[in-house]
Every structure is written in structure tokens, then in C-alpha cells.
Assembly symmetry: C4
Homo-oligomer: 301 residues x 4
């Protein structure tokens, strides 16, 4: 009936894994597009068209938008550290891990490339045409994260472990029905709020990457786009920290969540579908009476 | 029973199209009223009564308010580029397109006129009574968008394509039931959040019009209100870019959405009404048993 | 079973009107407490502990909190202009209007008195102990609204008409079931967002009172607390504008809403309870079949 | 079926009280981690990587995250003053009060210790290695609250009473079904919004502790980490005010809530489960007819 579209089934990619990788690619692309564009806007306008807070808020909008866009296809991981944790928790098959991670990094690379194109003139104007990692007119920090001068390697590593650990600790509880879950269709903005909080509070040391793909993809873009090998060698080969530490952090946060919360929750009620939108006990009671079943115990909110 | 109102049916305009155009007019009027007033407040107060972020947030509130106001009547397009995409997707008839666009542009013009009246004294005070497009006391940028000095035409065109493309890509997924849709009654604030993110991250180059009506309507107001023909001729006849590029961008974003997401989603379940607020499987099961039908498969969230 | 509380029915005030007035008093008290405290915090700290945006956000939180607190008792008007419009729309009896308004003004007065006590030392420190309406160390504007120097009376009047009109226009649609209503239990934060938008975009001229009680109550407090009669005589007896103009504005906004939206909406479906949380059509269909009734037409979202 | 986890029942701590204390410990830890990290980020970066508003927003995210994390186990008090009020209202047993409070203070201490580790290098850089309570390079205020110079003790005491009173007054109404309750699964962000409003408007005098654990835990950390006994003796032994005054404030706010709202609400409907997600009156009516019961009166929203 709709003449402008072919039968969608013919257009669907056959392999579920490729469909998921396409979604992770697009989701990470969108996430990076929001975050890096805001960083470029604030830096190249010398904070006249935004401030630190607008960068932080844009990352949050990126998380929200990418989650709504891809959750129904790939689960909206958007982050290799999250994918790894979901493998360990049995929510993702191990065979999906590498394709997911590659798609995320590639999406981040392409997102960064678009931001470079979008702000090419502004970056040239701001930097005087010299793309550098150091100094007052550096522009590498628009794309990848770099530590402050005073930060030792151990401090940066701890920072990324704590930041990513906080992220996993806070988002794992949001869907657990035995706890006090968030509305399923508002997970996206609530996770965005958590990410906003972490960036506002834990980005002073080294930029709150929290995500190996978010950091490596754009760093590769700067390598290929003219910033040179310094993007990898600077700050004593800092680049590996936002790749490795978020993974350790994600595992730590997941462990804390399991020990303190997940394992301590009450058993799931025997009733098979205790969903949020289930009908009220009064009607259940009516139906139960009618079916000669026992009246269920009413539980308070 | 209510003596203060006549029978509403007598007051209703007969033509559905005129009712829809009235709604698009009012919605775009409200959108422009919020956005331009905030720009006027920040500029004429020399950032003492607000800052860049409050302009960005006001646009978001405008989107939210205009959407709640008009969604039930006209679908709350508020943007010719959105109307065009909805025609292509088969959600709007082609015959409605031109009336929608004219209403949107006219609503934007009248909204801009009210902002001019509202901030007349402030604009005169700020500009010293000289309404100009260039210089430190220019006030034309309160109304329409202008590029930064360094931006070439191609850069501005790309900017508007990317911004509007991001908008469409991110909002088309919000209502798709086969994906992870937003709550239907919270679409308005979520779309507002997406718009906020785009303005915070993609307005440095040329002001993030994203919407031909939002730009052309207020630009026409400045032409007629004393800024002169420079509002159209300045920056090498820039005015046509925020009219044409958002349309290209909207089509690009829609295409990306179809290719990466829409066509890759699973089939809709056979059940005719798999709605969010459907009753829980347990009661369905009870009813099914009673009707001697087969028990439906329970699906996890 | 709860030994710390008496039977609540014994503690309830007999008169429904007095209960409603108590709620309006408390709600307006809370609204004013948030808004004026934030203004005092920002001014007396010389913007080191907040900025314009935090004042605007605090007003929004005040609206949200006061609405949740009192909606179930008095409807959470918190504003004489809103009460008047609800009388005209038949949602409030005329006999309730004056008691509502007096309670709102009294709540605003007491809220302002508490803010004065709370920030007494800060105000004395900031102002050098001299409470004035004019000059760089004036503190009267923490409490009531005053126009900018350049604003003529007509401009201020128009400003208040437009601001309050926008408020009513935007909130009246939120509960209309035939339109696209907001979730009933999230009306409070959404109205808060609308108020935030109006204050961010329409407070530069004369402070966005939008509410006769919000302005008159605190102005009376400053009169009695030491600022002198200048709070009423200054700016050419400005005080009456934020009392009268919001009422005209509320009526204008309500009229625009009725003409452009309310009267143009489709008829309510014949079904008597088309609520958001109604059960899904599929179960209705089952029940209908069982009751030998006709199957209702399924309507798309 | 999940090989990576043992049977959760084996891992669950036997004592419900210990499980609740673990949850309160973790929740307060998370709350403090967000709030203090943001304060450290803004102060040590000399406001280049955030501003006052981002500290305020981070506290709000901390409240939201900690609430979602622990509400299903311990009720997410996170504050001894809240626990005390809940004891008085009969929602917590008195025997749980001390364990709850100790867990909250200990969680706050450990959270502060992690923030100290996280920002150790930044604090050393900012302070020149001298940890002090006074002066332009003081860093004690990252952790605990201190009054402004001009504030007398009584003013500080009143401030904490009013702030905590406002908190309790505003959050107690959110779950009351006879009033206009917030969505149960969105209580966390709405309470976060209330906390944000209070911090934005009532933190100028003495930092808005609002919570004895939030203040005492981090203050103990600074005592043990090198700031010396001045953290307790400074400002004329200020430290006891944010411990005692929030308790008085919580009791005052609770009393106001009971007098003005709780006791004035209508009786609960006779129906035993008048929940938000109950089915619509139309289906109730059908069932009622079928059960030969009387049709319930439909009530408007």
C-alpha cells in the first residue's frame, strides 16, 4: 500500500549479527557525533557558543539518542567494556563480542571523521592551521582524551576504573525487576543522566572516556587526519589507558553490583509475569475467584 | 452544562486541512516565541540575564510545548523539512504539504513579530537604534541565522545537512513499536532533548536553523521591520542555505534511518495489538484458557 | 495499628474550602521559597554560588514540588490568574476564587518572610545594611519584580501579558485527552519545564512575575521588612503591572488555546473511558465477544 | 543455565538487616562519590572544567542513581534524618535506625576516601600540598560543609532546618496515592530534582548538607587524611550543626506535611487496590455486571 518503500523483508540484511553490527556502528557514530561536535563547538568558539556544561549535556543526549535508535536491534551497548560485561553476565554470546567491538570502534572513527569535516574551517581558524596535541591552540582534545599535566599514570588508570565502574554499577540496577526498576521505555534518558553525572564529576583528571571505542576511534581519526603520531605517543603513551582501564572498571563495577545488590535481592515472586503494567490485584482477584483459584496476596508498592 | 462555552462543534472549523494549518501556525508561533525571545534576552542583557545555554534550553522547551499543543491536530511537524519527509514516508498527503509549509512560515513570521514587539525597547537600547546585520551591536542574529566569518558556503551547507539529518535520524526511531520506543506521551520532551543536543553541538558554524520555516519567517520579519535587504544579501546571499540544506539533510537522515534501523527491525508480532499498555500475559492466559484458545508465548521484556 | 498518629479523620479540617486554602497557602509558600532563595543565593554570593540559570531552574523545581504537594487537594493553581481562568472554564466555582487568591498571596508573603530570615545575614553583608530598591547593592529585586530602566510602562504590560499568555496556552493542552496529553502523573515536571522556558526567554524586561501572588506577596514583605514604600512607588508605581497584566495575559492565552486548539479537536470517542491506562483492544475484544457486544474499532496510536 | 553465577540464594546474606545495611552503605557511597567528585573537579580545575551548577547537578544524579540502586532492598534512605522520620511515621522499625545510620556514615566515609584517592594529584596541585580549612587554596570544603564568614550559628542552624524541612515536605507527597503521586518508577529522578532545587537555592549560607551522614562521613575522612582537627574545631565547632539541624528540619518538614497535606487528604477509596495501573473503569464495569455487583462510580482524572 505504500508505493515509496519496497517490501521491508527484502531489504533486511539476512545475518542477525550483521544487523546488530550495523546498529552498533550507527549508535556509536551518533554518540560520537553529539559528544565531539559539542567539544568542537565550545573550543573553537572560545566558549562563546557554549561552555563545559553543554559538552557534558551533549554526551548525555548522544547516549539517549543512540540508545533509542539501536536498543531494539543490538541492545545499545555502544561500548566494548559494556559488551564484555554482558558476555560475562550471559546477556551476549562470546562470538558476538569481537564484531560488536569492531563495529563500535569503526562507528566512532566515522563519527569523528564527520565532526572533523563539520568543524574543519573552525578548527583551522582556531588552531591557525597547525594541528597539535599540546599548547593553547591544541585541538586533539576535541577528539580523544588526554590527561592533565600533573596526573601520574596510576592516577589516570584509577580514574578510568572508578568512572567506568560507577557507570556499570548504576545502570545494571535499572532493569532488575526484583529491585525498583526504571520504566523500560525511559531507560535511555536515565542512563544518559547517569553518564552526565559521571562526566560532570569525573572528567577533570583525564576526560572521562569510560569507553574504549569512544577514545580509540577518534584517536585513530586524528592520527590519519594530520595530528601525527603524537596522538598515540604523547603523555608517555597515554592512549592505552582509556582502552584498558574502562574494561577493568566495568568488571569492578559489575562485581560490586552483584555482591551488594543483585545477590541480595529477594526471590522473584512465584507468579510468572509480575510486570509493571500488569492489571491490578482487584481484577486478578475477580478472575481468580471465577477460576476457583486462590486469591493472591496483595503486596504493597 | 457549561454556560461559558457554546457547543464546541459549532465553533469547530469545517475543513480538517484548515484546522491542521491553524495548529501548525500556532505551534510554529510558540516554538519561535520561545527560541527568539531567549536569544533577545541573552543578547540585549549582554549575557547578564542568561547565557548561551539558556537560549539552547528555551528552544527545547519551545519544541516540547508546541508538540504537546498541536500533536493531536496536525502531528506537530513545525518544520517544512519534517513535513516533506513525512510525505515521502506516506504519513502526510502531498496535497497537505504546501498548506503546512505556508502555515509554518507564517507562524514563524508572526512569532518573530511578537518577539520584536516584546523586546523593542531592549533592542533599541542595545543597538543604539540602528538595526544592523554586522558588527558588535548587530541584532539581526536574534531572529535569523547567519554564518561565522570564516565559514565557506560548502561548510555551511554541510553543517545544515548534518544537523537536520541527525534530527530526523534520532526522532524517527522514537515511535517505532518494533524497536525500543519512547513512551507515546513523552515523545514531546524527548524530541526536545534531541533538539537541545543538536543545538548545543552543531550551532557554532551557522546557528543551527534545522528548519526552513524557523529561518525564513523571522528573516522576512527583519526585512519588513527595518533591518533592510542586507538580511537576505549578507554573507553572499546566505539566506537560501538554511532553506535548502535542511531539506537535503532531512532526506539524508531519513534514508540512513531506513537503511540502518527500520529495514533491519524484526517483523511485527502477529498479535494485532502488542501495545505497551496491554495487559500482562498472565491475564491473557486466563482469558485464553477460558476461550479455549492457545496460550500465547510469553516474551521477555 | 500506627501508634504515632491519631485517626486521620479526626485531624482533618471539616471545611473542604479551608483544606483547599491551606493547600494553596502551602503550595505558594513552597514555590516562593525555592524561587526567592535561589535569587538571594545568586545575588548575595555575587554569582559565585550560582548564576541566572540556577534561579530559573529553582523556580521550575518550586513549580514541580508545589504541584505534587497540592494537586490532590486544591488543584495546584498557585496563581490567582490561573484560578480566574479555571473559574471561567468552569473548573473552579466563583465562590472559591477570592479565598484561593488570598491564600496564595498570604503563602507568598510567608514564603518571602522565611527567605528574608534565611538570608538575613547574607542580605545585610551584601547591601551593607541598607535595604534599597535602586543601585548596585539593591536587594529588593530578590523579592519582587522591577522593570529595567529603559522599559516604558506599555512595554512592561505587554511583556507580562505575553509571558502569562504563553504559560496558559502551553499548559492547558497538557491534560486534554482528545489531544496528545502528557502523562497525568508527570504534569508537574512538564509544567515546570514550560515555566523554565518562559523565565529563560521572557524575564529580561521585567522579571517574569507571571503571577500576581508571586509578586504582591513578597512586595508586601519588603514593605513591612524595611525596604520602605519605594517598593510600591518606584518605577512610576510599577507594582500594579505584575498584578493586572498577568490576568489579562491568562485570559488572552486561554482564548487563543480555545480558538486554535480546544474547539478544533475531534470529538471524544463514544467509549466512555478512553484512558491512557485502559486495557488493550485485544482484551476488550475478548470481553466484548463474551458479552455479545460489538467489537470496538481499533484505533492506531 | 548461567554458568558464570552460582545459585544466587547461596550468595545472599542471611540477615535481612545486614542486606539492608549493605545497600545503605553502597547507596550513600555512590551519592557521596558523585557529589564530592564534582566539587573536587570544579575546585581543582579552578572552574575550567565545570561550574557551581555542575556540582549541584551531580548531587542530583547521585541521589537518582543511589535511589534506583537500593530502593528495592533498603528503601534508599541514604540519610539518617530520613531514617529517623520514617521510624516516627512507622515505615522503619526503631531497631533498624542505628544500623542504618552507621551504614550511611560509613558509606559516606568510604566514598569520600575514594574521591580523595581519585583527586589526590589534583588536590596536591591545587593546594600546593598543604591541606587547609581556610584561605583561597583550602580544599576541606570539597568534602564537608562550612559556613560563610558572616553567618552566625543561629543563621546556620535555621538554614539547615529550613533546607532539610523543605526536602521532607516535598518528597513525602510523592508516593501518597490519595494525592497526585509521581510515577512509582520515576520517584528517583523526581526526588533528585527536588534536591537539585534545594541545593541551588539554599546552599549559599553553609553548603546545604541536609544529611548528617553526608557531612560527618567526609569530615571524618578529612580528619584522618591530613586536614587535621581544624575540620572539627573551625568556625566555632561548626561541625555539629549539619548533624543536629537536619534532624530538627526533617521533623519540622514532616510535621508540616502531616498538618497541611496528609491529614487533609480525602479517604482512600473503599476498593482495596486503587493503583495507578489498575484497569480502566469500563472493563471494571463489564466485570462488575458479570459478577452482579454494583457499577462503580467513574471519577474524573
Amino acid at each position: 500500500s505504500n508505493p515509496t518503500m519496497l517490501n521491508p523483508r527484502l531489504l533486511r540484511v539476512r545475518s542477525a549479527l550483521i544487523r546488530q553490527c550495523m546498529a552498533e556502528f550507527l549508535g556509536t557514530f551518533v554518540l560520537i557525533l553529539f559528544g565531539l561536535s559539542a567539544a568542537a563547538q565550545v573550543k573553537t568558539s572560545r566558549e562563546t557558543k557554549g561552555q563545559t556544561l553543554s559538552i557534558h549535556l551533549s554526551w548525555a543526549v548522544g547516549v539517549m539518542s543512540a540508545t533509542y535508535l539501536t536498543k531494539g536491534i543490538s541492545g545499545a551497548h555502544l561500548n566494548p567494556a559494556v559488551s564484555l560485561c554482558f558476555c560475562i553476565l550471559g546477556k551476549l554470546r562470546w562470538g558476538q563480542l569481537l564484531p560488536y567491538c569492531v563495529s563500535q570502534i569503526f562507528g566512532a572513527y566515522v563519527g569523528a571523521a564527520l565532526v572533523y569535516a563539520l568543524y574543519y574551517d573552525a578548527i583551522m581558524e582556531f588552531s591557525g592551521g597547525v594541528l597539535t596535541v599540546y599548547g593553547p591552540s591544541e585541538t586533539a582534545s576535541i577528539f580523544a582524551t588526554y590527561p592533565t599535566e600533573y596526573l601520574p599514570l596510576g592516577g589516570g588508570f584509577l580514574d578510568q576504573v572508578v568512572g567506568t565502574g560507577t557507570l556499570l554499577l548504576c545502570i545494571l540496577s535499572l532493569t532488575e525487576k526484583r529491585n525498583a526498576p526504571a520504566p523500560p521505555d525511559l531507560i535511555a534518558p536515565i542512563v544518559a543522566g547517569v553518564v552526565l553525572g559521571i562526566i560532570m564529576s569525573m572528567s577533570a583528571n583525564c576526560g572521562a572516556a569510560l569507553n574504549p571505542a569512544r577514545d580509540l576511534g577518534p584517536r585513530l581519526l586524528t592520527l590519519t587526519a594530520g595530528w601525527g603520531t603524537e596522538v598515540f605517543t604523547s603523555f608517555n603513551y597515554w592512549f592505552w589507558v582509556p582502552i584498558v582501564a574502562p574494561i577493568i572498571g566495568a568488571l569492578t563495577g559489575t562485581s560490586l553490583y552483584l555482591i551488594f545488590i543483585e545477590w541480595q535481592l529477594p526471590d522473584e515472586p512465584q507468579e510468572s509475569h509480575p510486570e509493571i503494567f500488569s492489571i491490578s490485584p482487584s481484577i486478578k482477584q475477580s478472575v481468580a475467584l471465577w477460576e476457583k483459584e486462590e486469591e493472591p496476596k496483595s503486596t504493597c508498592f
